[in-house]
Amino acid sequence: MMNVTIEQVESGVPVTIIKLVGQLDASSYLDVIETGKKLHREGTRDLLIDMSEMTFMASSGLVALHNIALLMRGEQPQDPEAGWAAMHAINRDVQNSSSFEAHCKLLNPTPAVRKTLDVTGFANLFEIYDGRDEAIASFG
């Protein structure tokens, strides 16, 4: 069972914070992807995923992260301006040797989730922050 709360903040760019509360597994990850899609449709381009109260994450949770990260850097056909920004973002990502996702970042995973991110290489793809303010400031 996964509960999701959503918050909008400003930090140069608008940043959406999505807090996942509960257990992210194969029975709940599609809901999380749906939430990501909905946020994207509604204009979210920079997303911070608060994992502090996610008590469990399975490999299907990684699929959700993967999916949402691609969404956040992808094309937005419904809005040419955003589309351009997205293309720009993709360029930035390609140029960026660190290869961290610029538009989807993670906040405060529990030790077990952190280890799951480590052993699957996801910790090399996503910036992981301990502090919320620092995480927000890193966008834009």
């Binding site: 399975a58 299907s60 699957t120």
Partner: protein, 139 residues
Amino acid sequence: MSAITIYFPPVCLDDLAEIRRLIESAVVCLWEPGEVVTELVIAINEAVTNVLVHGYQGQPGHMVVKVSRDNAALRVCLQDQAWPFNPTAVPTPDITLPLAQRQPGGMGVHLMRQFTHRLQYRALPEGGNELVLVRQIEG
């Protein structure tokens, strides 16, 4: 306590959280909560999920879980009645690829390997599969 066996009724993905919690409770009868249990439960969850998703393909199916302990290790034996499939033959994924070049998924068996010390598979003579996850606790 040294060994607990749980017979599940036909289960599907909706039951996953409860299956996980019950198996965790059984493991915690044999070993104190902590990193070992948390990681072992992640591995077990991947094995159970694969049986439900790929093995039974969303249809309800039976499952028997036996957790046991000797001095050196926790063993979790998972039996199903699905088509034979040997997860220990799944190749190791490349975890250094950038996101855009990765296929989503394919991390389940990898997590099982990372969070256990040994995986043992056999096709059951009466049909179905047995997967044993072994996690060392000492030595």
